[in-house]
């Protein structure tokens, strides 16, 4: 029973961590840009977590503001819409403040189905139509073709670094435990042995605990 609870907790924690990483780390799509526009958008309590905070960039209203969007189509005909917003300086740490330039670059790379120009859109985030949530485009560049292979160096480095951090935290904690907590616990244990030797009964032991005893050093 206890093991099951422990494992359920671990699995939920792992799912949260993986979802968080999947949302935050950059991903690449190879698409054809079909449209760029901005639209007055109302951000509600259900999806404000997926939009830039109001004080990043030049936006001022929390609820209704102009947001830039980029419409795209994949090689197989599926479509994807990205938003194009400044990220601000804290989270997610893309430090993007050139949304206007990105919108201009995207407009410049537009093409139609007869004459496709394939573009790599680097983005983070998810498209959740039911919540009106859009991934945020971070950069665009021309692709060598619709089948270009992209190695996600940034994600590899970030995940390796996070694993390093976790290992270091564990080692630091183990060191702290071994060097600081265990010697202290051993001392308390010795004191306790001295108390036990003198006291009888539960209350006697508790009373004796507060008296200065010979075992204390």
């Amino acid at each position: 029973m206890w093991t099951n609870i422990k494992w359920a907790f671990r699995i939920i924690a792992a799912v949260f961590v993986l979802a968080f990483l999947h949302y935050t780390l950059p991903q690449h799509d190879i698409v054809r840009l079909t449209g760029t526009y901005n639209r007055l958008t109302t951000v509600g309590p259900e999806n404000s977590w997926a939009y830039a905070s109001p004080d990043s960039g030049t936006q001022e209203s929390t609820t209704t503001r102009d947001i830039r969007f980029i419409e795209t189509a994949f090689a197989d005909g599926d479509v994807m819409v990205y938003r194009n917003e400044d990220t601000g300086w804290i989270w997610p740490p893309y430090f993007k403040y050139d949304s206007s330039n990105l919108q201009a670059e995207a407009g410049n790379l537009k093409s139609d189905a007869a004459n496709p120009k394939w573009v790599v859109v680097t983005h983070y985030g998810w498209r959740l139509p039911i919540l009106s949530v859009y991934p945020n485009a971070v950069s665009v560049r021309e692709a060598t073709g619709p089948d270009e292979q992209i190695i996600p160096y940034v994600s590899i480095v970030v995940i390796a670094f996070l694993i390093f951090i976790v290992v270091m935290i564990r080692r630091m904690w183990a060191q702290f435990w071994e060097r600081s907590v265990e010697p202290m616990a051993a001392e308390v244990g010795e004191t306790w042995d001295g108390v036990e030797a003198r006291a009888t009964g539960v209350f006697g032991r508790i009373k004796a605990w507060f008296k200065p005893g010979p075992a204390k050093r």
């Binding site: 601000g88 300086w89 893309y94 430090f95 993007k96 330039n101 630091m172 060191q175 702290f176």
Partner: protein
């Protein structure tokens, strides 16, 4: 831009906590290494306790002036460099 004024103090505060934790850890590792080096050396079997303390104190003094302790400053340097590189490549 004003966001930078909020982010920078926050980053420095977090990195200072990391710096302190890492330097405590590094010092502890060095002290443990010195203790083990003394305790496992057969030539020092039965040596007096203050000799051991003096040996460890000398080792810690060497650590305080060594390169390894200065390398902990990378805790500040690397994240801020990564942030600058990110700013350069994203914008």
């Amino acid at each position: 831009m004003i966001g930078l004024l909020k982010a920078l103090p926050l980053a420095l505060a977090v990195l200072t906590v990391v710096y302190l934790l890492v330097s405590i850890y590094s010092r502890s590792i060095r002290r443990e290494k010195l203790e083990k080096a003394w305790d496992t050396d057969p030539a020092r079997e039965g040596a007096a306790k203050d000799e051991r303390d003096a040996y460890i104190e000398a080792g810690m003094e060497a650590y305080r002036h060594g390169l390894r302790r200065k390398l902990i400053w990378l805790v500040y340097v690397i994240p801020l460099a990564v942030a600058l590189v990110t700013v350069y490549f994203i914008n």
